[in-house]
């Protein structure tokens, strides 16, 4: 079976994927961000989009990944939708990406195991596949865990 997906660039050397309908908007301009005090260091800012308050998660910070120091100059704010496990209601959150998301087709035959260096991602990943273009292992993000889990525990 082949399904469409979006490949998103987290750092210069690491990408991840989400389902076709999970990525809902790429902002043409960088939004005005508001810092919320007393929040985790990887998710400190929000912005307003269509009367909703959207949190911005920094995946590199969350998973302790090395980033290019000059990487923020071309970051792309991308909004994702997911359904919470507790209420099944739609929620929205954003990731600040290194590049514009790339659309791809993913086939069952591309399945591979999660690389050992991404073992801390296990709770936040559905599965993993090898990208035909880059030959990289690409984890498919489980957004309802990524945006709701803290230290392996569902919050909210």
């Amino acid at each position: 079976m082949t399904v469409p997906a979006w490949i998103i660039s987290i750092t210069d050397t690491l990408s991840a994927a989400v389902g076709e309908f999970e990525l809902i908007h790429v902002l043409p301009d960088y939004p005005e961000l508001t810092t919320v005090p007393k929040t985790p260091p990887y998710c400190r800012q929000v912005f307003v989009w269509q009367n909703k308050i959207i949190p911005v998660m920094n995946l590199a910070e969350r998973f302790g990944l090395e980033t290019n120091a000059a990487g923020n100059d071309h970051s792309v704010m991308t909004i994702f939708a997911y359904r919470t496990e507790k209420t099944a209601l739609p929620e929205y959150a954003a990731l600040c990406l290194n590049a514009t998301p790339r659309r791809s087709e993913v086939n069952d035959t591309q399945a591979c195991s999660l690389p050992a260096e991404l073992s801390s991602w296990t709770n936040y990943v559905r599965c993993c596949f090898q990208d035909t273009e880059s030959q990289q292992a690409i984890p498919i993000l489980k957004l309802e865990h990524l945006f709701a889990y803290q230290n392996g525990v569902v919050v909210g």
Partner: protein
């Protein structure tokens, strides 16, 4: 004081919009006792973290000054000229600020703190949208988590 702080803020018809260090913090109007000028403030060396104290009748309010990340200043910045004395909390305390005005409940929409941002030790109970601007909502009892004495 309501057992459910979120219910208390949802049912509050007015909020005090307290401004300091670039932050705009909404506190249910029912938690406000009075506003006083900081010229009446006296030093309070015995209580850790306070910027001063203020007496009203027989009661003494410890006064706290907060920074933009909600950490405590140990003295009152020059621009903080208003003491907001709070009630519905023991011991009594007040918050020092630069400016204060009032917002009606129907001028804002209240939003939960996004799940990924939640922190059980945070005094923030919710976020509010006022037009396109984001404000933070707290209460007298929730803010007291910031103070070492409580």
């Amino acid at each position: 004081m309501s057992a459910n702080p979120l219910q208390a803020i949802e049912s509050s018809e007015y909020f005090a919009n307290v401004t300091f260090a670039g932050l705009q913090l909404l506190i249910p109007q029912n938690d406000i006792y009075s506003l006083e000028p900081t010229v009446d403030m006296t030093p309070c060396p015995d209580v850790i973290g306070t910027a001063g104290q203020l007496q009203q009748g027989n009661e003494m309010w410890s006064l706290y000054a907060l920074s933009s990340d909600l950490s405590l200043f140990d003295s009152c910045p020059d621009s903080y000229r208003i003491a907001v004395l709070l009630k519905n909390v023991k011991p009594l305390y007040g918050l020092l600020c630069e400016q204060i005005d009032s917002l009606a409940r129907n001028q804002i929409s209240i939003h939960p703190i996004p799940t990924a941002m939640r922190n059980p030790t945070s005094p923030l109970l919710a976020l509010a949208l006022y037009g396109e601007e984001i404000r933070y909502i707290s209460s007298a009892s929730a803010l007291s988590r910031l103070f070492p004495y409580y």
